[in-house]
Symmetry: D2
Subunit: 222 residues, 4 copies
């Protein structure tokens, strides 16, 4: 069993609440209000900026050239995802200047700064565990929603087809698998019980903060 | 005009909304529901733990022995305030084990980790500006609520008399004055416009996160 | 066997070279040139300032109130040791202004910044292992030199009596024992082989940098 | 006058001692012993690994997407320079495994960890000032040594032709110019006297540590 599977099993309730959140099911069904999705897109932009910082932090915290290079590639992947995101928001009628000027909301600040603090105060494993609900969870959600595309007449016919296609796509799926393997490499063949408990709390808190992030978008439409 | 006054003037609306929040006025009037105050006390415990870390971070970031020693004294003051807090929560019937086991809520995570990240990514001035709404704001709120004590027959008759007495007391007032002076010392006799804009955004965000912290307690009672 | 003993055994050669360095034996014999000791005192002042920062970093990196408070006490102990040091340097005719104005030499920068970087990039255990050659090593050296005091007619008759008395004294010995226990607490009942190898390299490098620190003082007299 | 020129003027003696160090002039003349150059190459590998970490730190410390992306590109440039370096060391008969296994010497630890600590404890400007003697200084040295290539019959005939060609080349020169501009952008149109004094001390210390780095290589041949 991978470390990721162990953590997910230990936080099964929170993980279900995150990956099957009302935001996710409505997005899959295409019934999510567009204003809610637009609010999500704005906050997700700020999220990606902070996640690029978190991956740069992982490079700083690395001990070997190979680990620095791997974290550098991850940062590059986040920056590329942000460029995709900017094109997506443009098509949704949100100009870049508006995106950058928009204030970060509370759930955005809470999740991103929690991850950065875990990474700074802990070690590289703490950081990667805090990143896992995002990196690995989004791929799981993408895979879970992919059948919705065909049911609704393909990617172009689905209002959120582009989002679903991106997170169920080849690149994101590969990045998720690499993140799962990376956790096991960092765990180095074994963890003490106390360490596993600590990491479980990091994983649980990060998952709860992902739930808050979906909820924040839903609440914007009320 | 001190740097603190400049920042407060530039964020006047947010500052008023924070220092005259419904939580504050109800606490002063003694009409705040006890369950709300209890929820606040639990989250404030976690808040103090993270603020002790933020003051330790200030010591780490210092360049001179005098600055390290000053930040060390601030950390000591927060740890002492936490001990007071533990006695207060005990009198409110919250055992220490319950406090430590209680999860940090979103607004607690958002505010504390934002401050820590400001301090880590920026310099000592960024950190102290992010801390100011708490350190200086609580003293302002204490002074503003002090007359409520006499109106309600003194500290012992007021349901939240102990809290008001602490934050309007000699020690906390002196700590607030020292924090105001420290900001001017760190600003070193001048700031560029761009730097002042950056610091204003830090101050504004931290103030908004304080508002969320009051609101989180109020919401717990609904 | 404690983690400290494991690390010392794995770096036996370096540990011997550090704790029985020519600087140490000449200091014990009272034959160390005074100019060398004076150079050491100046650099040790800068060393203590950076070590106070390293202990503040440990407080920042702590997860619990108890761990923050423990690291805060360690920082306080270093600041107190620095005050003692300032009195000692004054008696050796080095005014405080001269101390503070003196440049940090290379071996001072190398050791202190290495420890700080270990602590920042790694976790709390990395930091405490990097601090161990200083905290625990000085107590071992103090105990080893204590008999030299009696041989030379007591502390007052020995040219370096005050230094030997301080590091063989009750307080420093207790601090060293606490540091040994702290390592085992942080190791949490077990380490993987890979982790132990990493920590061994940190301990070895820190010990080598302590040797360079003694050598730097000796070289100043040549 | 750029900030870089101001700093160089304020540390003119140290800057001359660094850019016209015996190591540099012997390297230009082709008279540097090969064993000395080989020792330098091994330490420079470790240097580059830590400088990649320092650039990743700059990305972490950035506030905007543009600044994160710029620091990410710098990290990428260092990683590419490291790949070039690995090919160079291979041609000099130093296998990669030997490079990675070689211990970091004192001057390497001192310089790299000083830069990382400056960056972590200060802000982005402190970090870039600490990096400047390397980034900008190497391009200045490259330009200064370029005429030596023609004098000795071209790059292939010069024993250190490849090194001189790299640091006088188009890419490195452009990177140096970008670093000079970046300092002025970060200074944001003005610095207080106190801030300029602080940055001067950072620049001076980093330059002195570069001198120690050359000297360490020369000393290896004695």
């Amino acid at each position: 069993m991978t470390l990721f599977e162990t953590l997910r099993d230990r936080c099964r309730t929170e993980w279900e609440a995150y990956t099957h959140h009302e935001f996710v099911t409505e997005l899959g069904a295409g019934t999510l209000p567009q204003a809610v999705f637009r609010d999500y897109l704005v906050q997700d932009f700020h999220f990606l900026v902070q996640f690029a910082r978190a991956n740069a932090l992982a490079a700083y915290k690395s001990r070997t050239l190979a680990d620095i290079a791997a974290a550098h590639r991850s940062t590059g992947a986040i920056l590329a995802e942000t460029e995709l995101h900017l094109r997506l928001t443009e098509r949704w009628g949100i100009p870049r200047a508006e995106l950058e000027a928009a204030a970060e909301k509370q759930a955005t600040v809470a999740y991103t700064r929690y991850v950065l603090d875990c990474g700074m105060a802990g070690d590289a494993l703490d950081l990667h565990v805090a990143l896992a609900p995002c990196t690995i969870g989004y791929a799981e959600i993408g895979a879970q929603l992919m059948p919705r595309l065909a049911e609704q007449g393909g990617q172009d016919a689905h209002p959120y087809g582009e989002w679903i296609a991106e997170y169920s796509g080849v690149e994101f799926t590969a990045a998720s698998r690499a993140a799962i393997e990376q956790l096991d490499v960092l765990a180095g063949g074994g963890l003490t019980d106390r360490r596993l408990d600590e990491l479980t709390e990091v994983f649980r808190t990060a998952t709860l903060l992902e739930i808050d992030f979906w909820q924040q978008a839903l609440d914007s439409g009320r």
